[in-house]
Amino acid sequence: MVMEQTEIKEGADFPATNAREQPINRLFGTQPAAWLYLLPSLILFAVFVFYPLFRTLQLSFFLSDSKGLPTVFVGFNNYARLLSSPEFLASAGSTLLFVLYTVPTTIILALILALLANEKLKGIGFFRTIFSSSMGISVAASSVVWLFIFNPSAGILNRLLSLLGVTGINWLADPNWALFSVSLTTIWLHLGFTFLILLGGLQNIDEHLYENAQIEGCGYWYRLRRITLPMLSPTLFFVITVSMIDAFQTFGQIDLLTKGGPGNATNLIVYSIYQKAFINFDFGMASAEVIVLFLCILLITALQFKFGERKVHYQ
């Protein structure tokens, strides 16, 4: 018996067509009509993404008036001011810490919950609903709830602590605890969404793979390590990327819980941008900070794709 031994070729060589060589086709490809279909989303992107981005970039090279209109061209002066300001450096530091506190914790917790909720048990649907419920609650509503929870005198956290005989913590006003408290709220807030995506990923894994492993006598951890995690890796990669970007852009819960305080302990980058632009009316510097944040996220995401994606198995 003979088997097919042909190698699978990457990108088979198609014969070059004459049409490709014509300039109009070089610009629009061999199927110019495709652009017509892309037009609606291109217009939306142009209006809501590319144009604002371009204006922000432009603004970051200018001083501005209080309406945000550019007045004097200052080149990279805004960037220089920004990068040498201790307030910005503190902000960047808190943001990094915040990402470090929230992203891994959220994903690990959500993964554990998703693994539990993926078991075939009676009444598991109830837990699936509960675990994903924080997805349906707005940032504003949950921040208000957490304000009550964190309340130094009446909040449930401090009451629990006092039951244990520990003195209460001023969760949101203590510079040592404020970032932690905001992170806690954020983890809770993002848990539902992350859980749901991971559960969806788990349910997509072919049941027969586990049945085969069961027959072959593979233990739980072996199955988790050799089947579940590799098969879940595209979903995990997606969740990690989105959570990182999300964490870098946190704004709502800061505004509602701490307003960047105490001191500058929770003054994350997006909040500091907001303050610069809409409280100090320093639009030029705020724009420069936006661009810096944008480049940082771009860089981190690019690095993730370069190094993380290698470990990802796509079907």
């Binding site: 018996m1 097919e4 050799r226």
Partner: protein
């Protein structure tokens, strides 16, 4: 190698539907046993209960003579090949094959030796380093087989392993699986909906219908002596002609339809019956059978002929009932022309019209007593 025995096994799913009713099977050690039946009759459920992937509602499972109801799947000394192969898409063929061995921390030398043997047996060497999606359907199928071989489990379960392959490859894999089973000597429990696989591969087969066993026996015995109209129609292609008839036990006449009669004494009570005859037992008038004086001659209008290489399938009408005949050779017969045909009475089977059970099988007395359980 180990035997497998199912005693009074019943399976009910949560919604209350009874899928398997009082199943009794006894599969000998080293036997190639085929479970065959139409889709949805409960074949996979039986296999999964043997594997321990599905619980039994009641009944006993013995593996190697020992009760196995409560054993986890890994302790039942079996391997399984799934219909969709259940290969790990992120692992290479090699890693797929030794997946289970690695989990058991079996020594490297042994793993390598078994892998080499299995790869050789199945001609897998060139594709060991590829991932499943880079393999053809037939290669994936063989990876799944190899995985089951290297486990060296005494019992092997296969759930329609060939149904995703094209006809040619299927024919080749039929004999290949059979060859490997003979060589290794595993007890094989093979599920299929394809009666050709059941006929060609099994030492014995069980024909299932709606969760009950209709008949168990060697393929040729089941083919020649079906116990039931269901078995008669399910096994054999083209299927057996089954026609409603009435036996008059006073005049000793079998009436088929309105105008056809066969005068013959049958050892059965009179009443409504079903007459069965295999297409290959309806011969042209030129056949040597027509020389026998007990031969039954008749003439019918041919409505269709299909020449399949060296045999010809004819469709004809007797009293608005469609019959099929299979003749050797290539016959070109114009449609709507009358054709003389002949049948021998010893090839006629008579079934009860109410419950479908066999009433009269002239050749049955001559056959070897089948192994019944």
């Amino acid at each position: 190698m180990k035997s497998v025995e199912l005693i009074d096994v019943t399976k009910t799913y949560g919604n209350g539907s009874v899928i398997i009713k009082n199943l009794n099977l006894s599969i000998q050690s080293g036997e190639f046993f085929v479970l065959v039946g139409p889709s949805g009759c409960g074949k996979s459920t039986i296999l999964r209960m043997i594997a321990g992937l599905e619980g039994m509602t009641s009944g006993t499972l013995l593996i190697g003579g020992k009760p196995a109801n409560l054993l986890p799947p890994s302790k039942r000394s079996l391997s399984m090949v799934f219909q969709n192969y259940a290969l790990y898409p992120h692992l290479t063929a090699r890693e797929n094959i030794i997946f289970g061995l690695k989990a058991h921390r079996i020594g490297k030398d042994i793993v390598e030796k078994r892998l080499r043997e299995a790869a050789e047996m199945l001609n897998l060497a060139p594709c060991l380093d590829r991932k499943p999606r880079q393999l053809s359907g037939g290669q994936r199928q063989r990876i799944a087989l190899a995985r089951s071989i290297v486990s060296e489990a005494p019992i092997c379960l296969m759930d329609e392993p060939l149904s995703n392959l094209d006809a040619k490859l299927r024919a080749r894999m039929r004999s290949e699986i059979r060859r490997i089973q003979r060589k290794i000597g595993t007890t094989m429990i093979y599920v299929t909906h394809d009666q050709i696989e059941a006929m060609t591969m099994g030492d014995r087969m069980a024909v299932l219908h709606d969760g009950t066993v209709q008949q168990i026996g060697r393929p040729i015995d089941v083919y020649n002596h079906p116990d039931h109209t269901f078995v008669a129609s399910f096994i054999g292609s083209p299927q057996m002609n089954l026609m409603p008839a009435v036996y008059d036990d006073v005049q000793k006449i079998l009436r088929i339809g309105a105008s056809w009669t066969i005068t013959r004494e049958l050892p059965i009570a009179g009443g409504e019956v079903i007459l069965g005859i295999r297409p290959e037992n309806i011969h042209p008038a030129t056949h040597p059978a027509s020389a026998q004086n007990k031969a039954i001659h008749f003439s019918a209008n041919i409505i269709d002929t299909e020449i399949l290489g060296n045999e010809t399938q004819l469709t004809f009408l007797l009293d608005h009932q469609t019959w099929t005949a299979k003749w050797e050779g290539q016959w070109t017969i114009p449609d709507q022309s009358a054709q003389e045909m002949v049948i021998l009475p010893e090839n006629l089977l008579v079934f009860d019209r109410k419950d479908g059970h066999i009433l009269y099988d002239p050749k049955r007395s001559q056959k070897v007593e089948e192994v019944t359980v």
